[in-house]
Amino acid sequence: MTHAPGWLAAVSLAAGLAAGFGYAPREAVQGNVQRIMYLHVPSVLTAYLAFGLVLLGSIGYLATRRPGWDRLAGAAGEIGVLFTGLTIVSGSIWGRPTWGTWWTWDARLTSTAMLFLIYVGYLLLRSVIDDPDARGRYAAVVGILGAVNIPIVHFSVKWWRALHQPSTILGPGPAPIDPAIEVVLFLNWVAFTLLFAYFLARRIEIARLEET
């Protein structure tokens, strides 16, 4: 039963990959490079979902003290960091040919990097506490603060860039998206969410076995 989401994820990922290269049209301005979008956008959406679950698990643990909530928060935090890292790396690979640079201090890039650092700190805190209850409580406090901080970080970074220079970098792709691109994007998003669900279930299971 635990393998079912894994197989579903594998099949849908394969389908998403095939569609991304086979079905999706070649983007007019950027060419084939734009296909990184099918990895990049689902990654960041999955990361946000994961950090939302960290918040949920954190509040749940402080409210009920059931270890299951803490395992959910911890597992989601790890996977969220993984997908945020994937977002940054894939964005970097995308940025090199389109913007001419691996990294730029653009508002979105900076706030994603901050998100990554906040949750790496969260994982570091988890790793140094041995007592499960203390770990759950402390991690929950950081998890709640981290999630509430996301919009504050977002606005501060946005204004910081806007004040210094107008956006010199154009966002990828024109606003009206080809329906085929949208379909492929949606397919890949579903695949990533399934993969996330599989990772989450496995990680929670491992955490449960570790504690017994």
């Binding site: 140094v128 406090v141 709640i144 603060l145 504050i152 501060s156 970074v157 204004w159």
Partner: protein
Amino acid sequence: MSYTRRAWIIFHKDLLVERRSKEQTNALLFFCLLLLFLFQFALGPDRERLAAALPGLLWLGFILAGLLGLGRSFLAERENDCWEGLRLTPGDKSAIYLGKLTGNCVLMTAVEIMLVLLFALFYNVDLWTPAAPLALVLALGTLGLAAVGTLFAAMTTQVRARELLFPVLLLPAQVPVLLATVSATQALLLGQPLADVAHWLKLLAGADCVYVTIGVLTFEFVLEG
């Protein structure tokens, strides 16, 4: 005993300990002086470059001093089972948080005032003209820094590798405060009116409210361990 009275007792105790030992204030002032020299060495004698980097350096100094000062807020309680004493305090535990937070704000403000004076003296900048709006930015930034710092210090005091973990947790969380205060300070030093930085002040005030609220709500869970 009322809520404010309990917060006051904590605040008063911390201040009294500090007044008698002068441990933190002396060391932090010396540290600030050292920072000024380090900044000067790192940037070289070019006055224009120094002036451009000044708002960032000023807040970098505050944050570094804050890391040292705030990180120690609960160290005294680790000894002689004082932590147990805090835990056994009757009533709402957030009073302890607010007392500690107030004490930290006072300590940070004292250090910041000294650092600002040293900056004005050593780097020959006019901080007097924009003093009033600058004080507002300083106060809002300090509250944000201390609110998260106090909460995280209470946690990291209890864990392994706390000297390492405290900055690792605090610094990314403080990015909005740093960006807002540095941008506002920069604008004020360039002679812009307070209205030009109103959006930063609003962000700071909002962030302060959020941080203090989370601190008040979650502190009892931190104190338990």
